[in-house]
Structure formats: structure tokens, C-alpha cells
């Protein structure tokens, strides 16, 4: 199940990453050797085995819907790379 450079371009797109053609070649190489190694999982018969997403047997964790102090607007905005007085500022979307 080899990953081609075309696949890498698609995965990079899904990951919101841009790669140079040199990087694409390097990642294709290393991801292929990693995926080859992962292929041994296919030897193991897991039919009928329930998947475990989480080790704790937690179901929904509920709490009362009560307003509590949180970050102030200024604290929440302090690390913003670009902002107005009250909001995060982003480049145009369309």
C-alpha cells in the first residue's frame, strides 16, 4: 500500500501544510517505511474485538450549567497575532 507523492500532496492538503517538492519526496520515503512497518497489524485477526477509544469507563460527564468566572476578553486576546480592540483579526476568507 505504497504512498505516492500524489498521495502526499493530498495528505498535506488535508493537514493544511504546504510542502516543497523536495519535502514531498522525503516524506513519501519516511511515511512509506513507517506504513510498511505498521502493516504487520494486518496479520492479527481482530474480528469481533471491540475497539477501545479510551481506557476509562467514563460515559458523559455532566455538571451544573452555572456561570463561573473565565478569562476576560483582554486576557483571551492578549496572545492574538493580529487583533482589533475586541476581536481576532484574520485575512479575508473569500
Amino acid at each position: 500500500m505504497a504512498i505516492s507523492e500524489k498521495d502526499i500532496a493530498y495528505i498535506a492538503e488535508l493537514s493544511e501544510l504546504e510542502l516543497t517538492s523536495e519535502e514531498a519526496v522525503q516524506y513519501a520515503g519516511s511515511l512509506n517505511s513507517i506504513i510498511d512497518y505498521m502493516a504487520q497489524l494486518q496479520e492479527l485477526d481482530t474480528s469481533g474485538v471491540e475497539p477501545t477509544t479510551h481506557v476509562l469507563q467514563l460515559q458523559n460527564v455532566f455538571r451544573e450549567d452555572v456561570v463561573k468566572p473565565g478569562l476576560s476578553r483582554e486576557e483571551a486576546l492578549r496572545n492574538a497575532p493580529n487583533r482589533t480592540k475586541t476581536s481576532f483579526k484574520v485575512p479575508k476568507i473569500l
Binding site: I3, L14, Y27, L44, N79, P91
Partner: protein, 486 residues
């Protein structure tokens, strides 16, 4: 020398007024100044804040208002744990200038207990790595041999404690990131049960596997610290409301009548024979102290590492989607939003982080989800069941190697990701099953430390401490001091 004291000795010294917190803090800051230019454990040293905190602690003690036994004890914190007002980078260019507006619960608890922050410790970027070579800033060196890695991802936390640049430190462990560096640097290292310590404010890598851990110079210290940082936290819905015992009280109850398993899969191919032999010698010590040693089998161990790397990277690909240049962190300006996201992420993340995001994205993508991601979750069930069966059969804890080798050389594996992943082969199972595990220094090979790993059932940290105490007789850290003449 104050920097050689354990936490327990430090607490006693402070209580008996043999020294002040400011004297102690200055001793650590001087040592960091002298040694860290070679070791590079700290990304940020918070000298000014530390002296202020220490002076305030001394004032509280004089007035009889100490916040806790820990009041005035210094600590170093892995730079993935948010410290309000102190830059927290995750060793990434993405967060190079990020100053968190709140503190992680684990640091909050220590700060409320009066601990003094010495600084923030180096790591692999976003905890992705096993050598600290993936830090975006610099590589930490192993104090025992500066040509070797300290392990990772919490390499700075391990090296700082090993070199007496902090009496204890916090790290995080997703697949061995506390235990493998503890083994490489000759410190005690604890990865608590999943849910024991709140993850709130810890920058996430793989949320179902991440857990805050402790580096210390003794098991007693580790037990003392665990009691302070554990417990249910309403800010982390995966923290567990299991009572937190005073772990330090039961330390010397011994191992008489305990059943300790040696899982045969951890002593075979891929593990250096000298290390296997050393761990088996530890089993002998436990037997002499009255434990029954039993060979056991965890048959799915061989499948754990590939499953782990799919599971962890899948979770990471989702967790790291938040770095988009909007709310905090790096932004690389572009004319439109989509280009800004890509430019920011491409320049902000290092090579290994990008590799793991892509691997995880691939495993979750349409057409591969069943074959990869879902398969790994089934393997997780089987790996966990192997452990459950052992504990159900009356095994109290398991004894294994921590890593297949001692610390490897800088650059030895940095260009071969798969070889790097293999160094986690003895540790990832524990995170998949959510278990606690303790690493205890047990000797040296070729001048480099070796740690034994004890694995317990969920919330059985106390049994790990009791077993670890039996092995603890020879500490490795003094040998670093003698050899280096430092």
C-alpha cells in the same frame, strides 16, 4: 551542597531553618548558570520570579504561615505545561512567544503549595520524539555523557534533576516520555495512572494517552509529590474521583507476599542482553525481600508499537489543528485565510511534527480509517486485556526494562524516524492500557544509567513505590557527581 538534597531533605532543612528558600533557590540558579551552558536543559530560566517567590516563602515561614510542607521548594517544569505569565513554548516555533493566561492544574497546585519555579524545561517539539533532538531551539545533552541524548520527550526535565539543576521536575508521558528519559538519566520517573493527575493546561499531544509525570531523586520524593498533584479536577473531565492517599506513609511496607510478574515478551529480541540481565537481577532482589517472582506472558506486546504510533498520531493530527495563526501563536501573514493557515503551519511546525500530523491524517482519512485507525483501537483492547488478565490472576506488578538500550548518541537516530520510534518499545503499552509505571535507577552500563520499569494495575501506584523502594539502594546520581567532579 544544597542542590544535592532530595525533596524530603529539603523540606526538613527548610522546616528546621538550616537554610532559607532564597539561599536554596540561589544555589540552584548558580548551578544552572554554571552547568546548563553544556547540558541545555532549560528553555527559560525564571530567575527573577524564582527569587521573588522564594523571598515570599521565607517571609511566610518566619510568620508561621507556610502554605504546605513544600513551601519554598524549587521545581523545574516541562515547557508543555502552562505557567500563567511565564512563556510556554512546547519547544515549538509555533508557540515561541506564547505567554499563557492561565496555569495548568498540576503547576497551580504546586504554586499554591508554595513551590518556587526555576524555569521551563526543554523537550521534543509538542512531545513528539524520544531524544529531545526535535526541540525547535536546541538539543539537551545527557549529563552522564554530553555526546549522548537525555532521552525524550521530557529530556530537559530528566537532565535537570540528574544534574542537580532542580530537586524535582514535572514532565509528560504519552508513550514513555517520562520513563525513557528517567532511565537514560538515572532519575526516578513516574507515569501515574491515566486520570490520576489533571491534564488541564497541559498542551495536548494525544489526549487519550497523555499523563503528567514526575522526575525525582528518590521514590519517597516521588510519592510526596504525587499526593500534591493528584486528584479530580473539574477542568479535566477525564480526571478521576479516586481518593488520593498519602503515598509517602506506606513506602516501607515491603513486598512480602507480593507477586511480581516478568513478562517474557519484554526480555527477548530487540532488548540489549546486558539490560535484560540487569533487570532480572532486580527480580532477584525483590525475591530476596519476600516477593514471589512469576514469569508471565503479554501476548499482544509485539503489536503495541505500530498500533501506538497510529493512535497517537491520529489524535495529534486533530489536536494540532488548533494551530492556525488566529488566536495565539505564530502567524505568517498571507492575503487570504486559507493561505495564511498553510503558511503558518508549514513554518511553525518542525519536520517530525509535520510527519506525525500527516501520518495521523492518513490513518484517519477515508479508505484507511478501518484498516489503520479502527484496527489500532482493537489492538488497544487486546493489549489492555493482556494486562487485565495478569492483574486478575493475582499479579501485583510487572518488572520490565524501560528502554532497549542505554542513552544513544546524538544524531544516531535523528534521521531514521522508525529507529527512533523503536526506542519506545517497552513503554507504549502502559499508556495504551492507562496504567501507572515507575522507573527506578538500577545500575550503569558503560557509564550510562539503566532504569527498571515497574508496571501496576490502575491506581496501584502505592505498590510500585513499595517495590521500587526495595530496588532503590544504589542511587546513580552521586556517581554523576563523582565522575564529573561537580
Amino acid at each position: 551542597m544544597l542542590t544535592r538534597l532530595t525533596v524530603a531533605e529539603t523540606i526538613k532543612g527548610l522546616q528546621e531553618k538550616q537554610f532559607s528558600s532564597l539561599e536554596l533557590t540561589n544555589a540552584y540558579l548558580e548551578r544552572i548558570e554554571a552547568l546548563d551552558k553544556d547540558i541545555n536543559a532549560y528553555i527559560t530560566v525564571t530567575a527573577e520570579k524564582a527569587r521573588k517567590q522564594a523571598a515570599a516563602s521565607d517571609k511566610r515561614r518566619i510568620e508561621g504561615n507556610a502554605l504546605s510542607a513544600f513551601d519554598g521548594v524549587p521545581v523545574g517544569i516541562k515547557d508543555i505545561i502552562c505557567t500563567k505569565g511565564v512563556r510556554t513554548t512546547a519547544a515549538s516555533k509555533m508557540l515561541e512567544n506564547f505567554v499563557p493566561p492561565y496555569s495548568a492544574t498540576c503547576w497551580n497546585k504546586l504554586e499554591n503549595a508554595g513551590c518556587v519555579l526555576l524555569g521551563k524545561l526543554n523537550m521534543d517539539e509538542f512531545a513528539m520524539g524520544s531524544s529531545t533532538e526535535n526541540s525547535a531551539f536546541f538539543t539537551t545533552k545527557n549529563p552522564f555523557d554530553l555526546a549522548c541524548v537525555p532521552g525524550g520527550s521530557s529530556g530537559g526535565s530528566a537532565a535537570a534533576v540528574a544534574a542537580d539543576m532542580a530537586p524535582f521536575s514535572l514532565g509528560t508521558d504519552t508513550g514513555g516520555s517520562v520513563r525513557q528519559p528517567a532511565s537514560f538519566c538515572g532519575t526516578v520517573g513516574l507515569k501515574p495512572t491515566y486520570g490520576r493527575v489533571s491534564r488541564f493546561g497541559v498542551i495536548p499531544y494525544a489526549s487519550s494517552l497523555d499523563q503528567v509525570g514526575i522526575f525525582a531523586k528518590s521514590i519517597e520524593d516521588c510519592a510526596l509529590i504525587l499526593s500534591y498533584i493528584s486528584g479530580k479536577d473539574e477542568m479535566d473531565s477525564t480526571s478521576v474521583p479516586v481518593e488520593v492517599p498519602d503515598y509517602s506513609v506506606l513506602l516501607d511496607n515491603g513486598v512480602k507476599g507480593m507477586k511480581i510478574g516478568l513478562p517474557k515478551e519484554y526480555f527477548g529480541e530487540g532488548i540489549a542482553k546486558a539490560i535484560s540481565d540487569m533487570i532480572k537481577a532486580q527480580a532477584q532482589k525483590l525475591a530476596e525481600a519476600g516477593a514471589e517472582i512469576v514469569e508471565v506472558s503479554l501476548p499482544h506486546t509485539g503489536y503495541a508499537l505500530p498500533a501506538y504510533y497510529i493512535m497517537a498520531t491520529a489524535e495529534a493530527s486533530a489536536n494540532l489543528a488548533r494551530y492556525d495563526g488566529v488566536r495565539y501563536g505564530l502567524r505568517v501573514e498571507r492575503d487570504n485565510l486559507a493561505d495564511m493557515f498553510k503558511a503558518t503551519r508549514s513554518q511553525g511546525f518542525g519536520a517530525e511534527v509535520k510527519r506525525r500530523i500527516m501520518l495521523g491524517t492518513y490513518a484517519l482519512s477515508s479508505g484507511y480509517y478501518e484498516a489503520y485507525y479502527n484496527k489500532t483501537l482493537q489492538v488497544r483492547t487486546l493489549v489492555k486485556k493482556d494486562f487485565d488478565d495478569c492483574f486478575a490472576a493475582g499479579i501485583d506488578c510487572l518488572l520490565t526494562p524501560t528502554a532497549p538500550t542505554t542513552a544513544f548518541r546524538l544524531d544516531e537516530k535523528s534521521n531514521d524516524p522508525l529507529a527512533m520510534y523503536m526506542s519506545d518499545i517497552c513503554t507504549v503499552t502502559v499508556n495504551m492500557a492507562g496504567l501507572p509505571a515507575l522507573v527506578v535507577p538500577c545500575g550503569e552500563l558503560g557509564g550510562l544509567p539503566v532504569g527498571a520499569q515497574l508496571i501496576g494495575a490502575p491506581f496501584a501506584e502505592e505498590k510500585l513505590f513499595r517495590s521500587g523502594r526495595v530496588l532503590e539502594n544504589e542511587r546513580l546520581i552521586p556517581q554523576f557527581r563523582n565522575r564529573e567532579g561537580r
